[in-house]
C-alpha cells in the first residue's frame, strides 16, 4: 500500500493528543500543587500514602485485587466444567453471561436492592434469615421484658411488646400464665390479670432444678402452660425476648467491599466461563479419559489433568480481571450508599472525587491517576510479551 500515513494518520493523531500526551502531562502535573502553580515534588504521592482516606482506598484496592480476580476465575472454571458437554446448558451459559452486557450502573442498582438490609425487602438477607430460622427458632417476642424478674406462683407479667393480633384474654390456671400486662384503654393494674389483657402464646417455659432444665413447654393461646409439679423453679429463657437474626448489613461499613465484590463476580463470571469453556474444548479428551480409566476421581482429574492444561487461559483471565479490578469505579459509586462511600473507597473513585467531585485538587488527582497507571504497567508488559510470543 502506498499511502499508509493517510490511513493511520487520524487514529494516531487522536491517540497522541488524547492518550499519550495526557499521560506525560499527568505525570508532570502530579508534581504540582492543587492550583497548578507551585512545584511540590513528591508531596502528592506522600499524601496518598499518609492520608487516611487514600490509605483506605489503597487497602480496599488490595482486597479487590486479592479476592475478585481469583473468585471470578474460580467461578468461571466451575461453570465451564459444570456445563461442559451438556448440550442444553448453553441456555444457562447465556444467563450467566448476560450481566456482562449491562452497565455497572444497572448492576449497581440491581444489587443495591439485593443487599437491602431489611430481610423483608432484600433477597440476600431474606434467604439467609430463612435458612437461619430453619435451624434456630425465631424469638417470639423480641424486645419484650418481664415486669418483674421475680416469679410469683408461675405468673409472668410481660411488657414492651405490641399485643398479639389474634390474642385472647389471659386466664389463670394450669401451672401458671404468661400475659401481656397492659390493658388497652388504660386502667390496668401492674401484676394483675385485668379484663382485656391478652395471653402470650408460644412463649417457651422451662422448669429448672440445680441449674438443669428438667422440663419445658410452650404457652397456649390464653398464655397458660402446664408443667409437671416438682421441686424446681420456673423461668422464661432469654431466647424468648432476644432480637431476631436479621441477616448481614451488607452495605454497612464493615463488609461493604466484599459485598460489592460479590456483585462484581456476578457480572464477570460469564466472561471467565466463556474463555475457559473455549480452552476446555481444546483439551484432548484422551488425556481425561486416560486418567479416569486409571481410576482417578473427578476431583483428581480436574486438579491434576484439566487445570494444568487450562493454565494459559486461566492466567489470561486472571490478568485481565486484575486490570479491570484496578480500574473499578462505577460499581462502588452506585452500590455503596453515600454514608459508607468513604469505607468502600477505591483509588479510581478517589481520583474522581478529589479531581472532579468538589475539592478539585488536580495535583493529588493526577498523582492518583499516575498510581493507577503504574499499577497496570505489569499487565501491559504481560500483554506485550504475549503479543511477541504469538507473533
Amino acid at each position: 500500500m502506498k499511502r499508509a500515513a493517510v490511513f493511520c494518520g487520524p487514529a494516531l493523531v487522536l491517540l497522541a493528543a488524547l492518550v499519550v500526551y495526557p499521560i506525560g502531562y499527568t505525570i508532570v502535573r502530579s508534581l504540582f500543587g492543587g492550583d497548578g502553580e507551585s512545584f511540590v515534588g513528591l508531596a502528592n504521592y506522600q499524601e496518598i500514602f499518609t492520608s487516611p482516606e487514600t490509605l483506605t482506598a489503597l487497602r480496599n484496592n488490595a482486597v479487590w485485587v486479592v479476592l475478585a480476580p481469583s473468585l471470578v476465575t474460580i467461578a468461571g472454571l466451575f461453570f465451564a466444567v459444570l456445563t461442559d458437554r451438556i448440550r442444553w446448558a448453553s441456555a444457562v451459559k447465556v444467563v450467566i453471561f448476560l450481566p456482562m452486557a449491562i452497565s455497572f450502573l444497572a448492576a449497581g442498582v440491581t444489587w443495591r436492592m439485593v443487599y437491602e438490609a431489611d430481610p423483608d425487602r432484600g433477597i440476600a438477607n431474606a434467604a439467609i434469615v430463612t435458612v437461619h430460622d430453619a435451624f434456630a427458632d425465631r424469638p417470639p417476642y423480641p424486645g419484650a421484658r418481664l415486669r418483674s424478674t421475680e416469679d410469683t406462683a408461675g405468673r409472668f407479667a410481660v411488657v414492651g411488646v405490641p399485643a398479639p393480633a389474634d390474642g385472647v384474654q389471659a386466664t389463670e390456671g394450669g401451672s401458671g400464665v404468661v400475659w401481656l400486662d397492659f390493658a388497652p384503654g388504660g386502667g390496668g393494674r401492674p401484676g394483675v390479670i385485668d379484663p382485656g389483657e391478652k395471653g402470650l402464646p408460644g412463649v417457651r417455659v422451662e422448669a429448672v432444678r440445680d441449674g438443669k432444665v428438667v422440663a419445658e413447654t410452650t404457652t397456649g393461646p390464653d398464655g397458660r402452660y402446664t408443667l409437671p409439679a416438682g421441686d424446681h423453679t420456673i423461668r422464661l429463657p432469654d431466647s424468648n425476648f432476644a432480637q431476631p437474626f436479621n441477616g448481614v448489613d451488607w452495605l454497612g461499613p464493615s463488609v461493604v467491599t466484599p459485598a460489592i465484590i460479590g456483585a462484581y463476580v456476578w457480572i464477570w463470571a460469564g466472561f471467565a466461563m466463556v474463555l475457559i469453556s473455549a480452552g476446555l474444548a481444546g483439551i484432548p479428551r484422551e488425556t481425561l479419559e486416560a486418567a479416569r480409566i486409571d481410576g482417578a476421581s473427578e476431583w483428581q482429574v480436574l486438579r491434576r489433568v484439566t487445570i494444568p492444561q487450562l493454565r494459559p487461559v486461566l492466567v489470561v483471565v486472571w490478568v485481565t480481571m486484575v486490570i479491570n479490578v484496578l480500574k473499578v469505579f462505577d460499581l462502588v459509586l452506585v452500590l455503596a450508599p453515600e454514608a459508607v462511600q468513604a469505607d468502600a473507597n477505591v483509588v479510581a473513585l478517589q481520583m474522581w472525587r478529589v479531581s472532579f467531585g468538589g475539592a478539585r485538587d488536580l495535583g493529588l488527582g493526577s498523582a492518583l491517576g499516575v498510581l493507577l497507571f503504574l499499577l497496570v504497567l505489569p499487565a501491559m508488559l504481560f500483554n506485550l510479551r504475549r503479543l511477541r510470543r504469538e507473533g
Binding site: 500500500m1 479491570n324 493507577l372
Partner: protein, 264 residues
C-alpha cells in the same frame, strides 16, 4: 445431580435481574415495604413517569447521540489504521503497533485531567462531541489491535489481485478489506457500542447536565435511593434493554470478540 446444579446456578444468576424487573413494575410504596418476590400490585406507572420526564428522555436520547458516533468513528478510524498496520510499509510500523497495544490497558484516569483542559480549550468540554472524542481515543487501541490481527490473515493474493486490477488503497480497503474483515468489525462494533452505552465515568467528567447520558441521569437519582426508586428501577431496566437486545442479536460476534484475546 450435576444437571440440577446447572439449573440451580442459572436460577441463582437470574434472580438479581428478575428482582430489578419485578421491582420496576411495583409502586414505590410497595418496593419500600415488602420484597419483590411477594409481587402484589403490578403497574407501569414507574415507566410512564419516567417516559413523561423530559430530562430522562433527553438523557436517553443523549446516550444514542453519544454511542452511535463513537462506535462509527472507532470502527472507521480503527479499520483504516489497522489496514495500514497490517499491509502498509512505513518506518517504525511494528514499533508503533507495540505502542498501540500497550495503550490498550491505560486507565482513563491518567488522561481525565489533561483531556478536560484540552477539550475545554477547544470549547468541547461539557458537550456531546467532547464526550465522543474521548470515547473514540480510548476505543482506538483495542480496535486497531483486534482488526489488525484479523486483516493480517487475509490472503495476500486477494490484495495483489485487486491492485493489479488498478485498485487504489481506498478501493482495496472498501472492496476487499471491509467485506472480508466483517466478522471482526462486527465484534468490535458491538464491544464499542456496549462500552460507550454503559459508560458512567467519562460522562460524569466530560458531560454537562444538558449533554448527560442516561447512566448519568440515573446516577443523580441514586443519591437518594429509596425515595427515587420508582424512577431508578424502571430507568435502570430501560437502560439495560438496548445492550441486552444487541447482545442477543449478535451473541456470536460478541463471543468471538472476547476470544480475540486481550480485553481492556
Amino acid at each position: 445431580m450435576k444437571r440440577a446444579l446447572v439449573v440451580l446456578v442459572g436460577l441463582l444468576w437470574l434472580t438479581p435481574a428478575a428482582g430489578l424487573l419485578v421491582s420496576s413494575l411495583r409502586p414505590a410504596r410497595a418496593v419500600n415495604s415488602s420484597g419483590w418476590w411477594t409481587f402484589g400490585e403490578l403497574t407501569f406507572d414507574g415507566y410512564a413517569k419516567l417516559l413523561s420526564d423530559d430530562r430522562m428522555l433527553g438523557a436517553l436520547w443523549n446516550t444514542v447521540l453519544i454511542t452511535v458516533p463513537s462506535t462509527v468513528l472507532v470502527v472507521v478510524l480503527g479499520a483504516m489504521a489497522a489496514y495500514a498496520f497490517a499491509w502498509g510499509r512505513f518506518p517504525g510500523r511494528d514499533w508503533l503497533f507495540l505502542v498501540v497495544v500497550a495503550l490498550i490497558v491505560v486507565p482513563v484516569q491518567v488522561a481525565l485531567i489533561p483531556d478536560a483542559e484540552l477539550l475545554g480549550n477547544l470549547g468541547l468540554f461539557g458537550s456531546i462531541p467532547g464526550v465522543v472524542l474521548f470515547h473514540v481515543a480510548f476505543g482506538l487501541p483495542f480496535a486497531i489491535f483486534l482488526l489488525r490481527n484479523f486483516f493480517v490473515a487475509i490472503p495476500r493474493e486477494l490484495l495483489e489481485a485487486a491492485r493489479i486490477d488498478g485498485g487504489s488503497d481506498g478501493t482495496i480497503f472498501r472492496k476487499v478489506i471491509l467485506p472480508l474483515g466483517w466478522p471482526a468489525i462486527a465484534s468490535l462494533a458491538i464491544f464499542q457500542f456496549l462500552w460507550v452505552w454503559n459508560d458512567l465515568l467519562v460522562a460524569l467528567v466530560f458531560a454537562s447536565p444538558d449533554s448527560a447520558p442516561i447512566t448519568y441521569a440515573i446516577r443523580e437519582q441514586t443519591r437518594s435511593f429509596s425515595s427515587n426508586i420508582d424512577v431508578i428501577a424502571p430507568g435502570a431496566f430501560l437502560s439495560m434493554l438496548v445492550p441486552l437486545a444487541v447482545f442477543f442479536a449478535f451473541q456470536r460476534y460478541f463471543v468471538q470478540g472476547l476470544m480475540a484475546g486481550s480485553v481492556k
